[in-house]
């Protein structure tokens, strides 16, 4: 069962992609007024921070960033076995009337985003919620779509797409791990 990782985006390409995404964000929201970034634990948080830093540089404005742990809103909590660890959620605002950009690393089945939408609803009623992901690998199981995509990849269901960030993993890249037929 050889797992051979292929680099889809190296660190320079990743940085370039983020800069382009930041531009798209400003365009999408027609400015950054009343906008909050919400990164999904874990790596969505780091990516959200990077995007906010780029906007700070470009637009000289600090977009507030929150983090969301969706574990308690998972739809498979009753069947997943040993309890997954719950990470911190930091959203110290009333979201009524705000514009929210959910940031995540990989969009696949869409279930994580569904959970995030449910959780956000408990914090108020944003006027608009949009989704930005670094990688869209297809394979949706729910009608969820990303407004801003860094890179689209076309992979088999058994493949893994991993986003690595230097804050947690020591380097920045996006890798694809193809599984040979396993036993």
């Amino acid at each position: 069962m050889a797992a051979k990782p292929t680099t889809v985006l190296d660190s320079r390409a990743l940085a370039r992609t983020l800069r382009r995404m930041a531009d798209e964000i400003v365009e999408l929201f027609d400015g950054v007024d009343n906008l909050i970034f919400v990164g999904i634990q874990r790596r969505g948080v780091q990516l959200s921070d990077r995007l906010a830093d780029i906007l700070d540089e470009r637009e000289q404005v600090r977009v507030p960033r929150g983090s969301l742990d969706i574990t308690l809103y998972r739809d498979d909590l009753q069947t997943v076995g040993p309890r997954p660890v719950v990470g911190p959620t930091k959203l110290p605002w009333d979201l009524n009337g705000k514009r929210v950009l959910i940031v995540d690393d990989v969009l696949h089945t869409g279930r994580t985003v569904r959970a995030a939408l449910d959780e956000l609803a408990d914090f108020g009623r944003p006027s608009r919620i949009a989704l930005a992901v670094l990688v869209d690998r297809g394979g949706r199981e729910l009608p969820i779509h990303a407004d801003i995509v860094g890179k689209r990849v076309d992979v088999a269901p058994s493949d893994r797409v991993d986003v690595l960030v230097s804050e947690l993993d020591g380097s920045d890249s996006v890798v694809l791990v193809r599984r040979e037929d396993a036993a």
């Binding site: 809103y73 498979d76 959620t89 696949h108 279930r111 408990d122 108020g124």
Partner: protein
Amino acid sequence: MTTPLGKDLLGLEPLTPEQIRLILDTAEPFKEISERAIKKVPALRGSTIVNLFFEASTRTRVSFEFAEKRLSADTVNVAASGSSVSKGETLVDTARNLEAMRIDMVVIRHSASGAAQFLAERIESNVINAGDGTHEHPTQGLLDLLTLRDRFGSLEGRRICICGDVLHSRVARSNIWGLKKMGAIVGVCGPRSLLPNAIADLGVEVFDRIEAAIEWAEALNILRLQLERMQAGYIPSLREYNRVFGVTRERLERAPRDVLILHPGPMNRGVEIDSDVADGPHSVILDQVTNGVAVRMAVLYLLAGGAPELADAAKGGSDR
């Protein structure tokens, strides 16, 4: 069903330090939920939990109820009466009836030591001990640990003294086990008639006078003194208890450091603890209450397991 805590939470004595740490770590994110406008997450949606209280208790029961409801579980309160012997249905029958109703979890408080274990051995539902006789009160022990850890950062090597009627206290026992497993140094202080004869064998320091305990400790966990103890002849009067063992502002001021004050409640103001101490700057009594809900949520969350064969589907967060 392989949950990290097993099927039940019966006490802190059977837990490993890793398990205790897991509960405390899990409680942290749950604190935040109680700060939200909508204090609810769907984690235990569809679960049925019975609060089976054979002893009257408002605060523990309400705390558990909040914890259960904030996890979206359905809760039922049963105020059962007395022991198996005299008052109607035996504990065995109660257990079987609950099981027949397919309850997922039972939170039990009972006046007999070992009652929670007795129940757990006879039903498949998860059983959480909310206090059995004078044996253990694990969620109280855990919230005390969390409160201390929040203030100290780590419990390793910290000196914590439990003051009062240790002989009859399940809170004391749970605290002793929990603190020792977390590496703290434990002391007890009280009249010898209210300390177990074998107390030294439990690995704790014993202080006969409260002044010595205050000088030694970094935190005091002050137990409630019950009127019955005086009536049963263990101490002569509440007044003398306060004079000799009461934690007063004057005594605390003579301490060489700031001493944290904990109390499981309800307090007998003027007996074991004076009001200006309970309401003073070093009191974390209200934090204990807040942490109580979070700890209980964490325990319920960790015990409510699922089918382990589907665990793989969740590994590595691949299900995006």
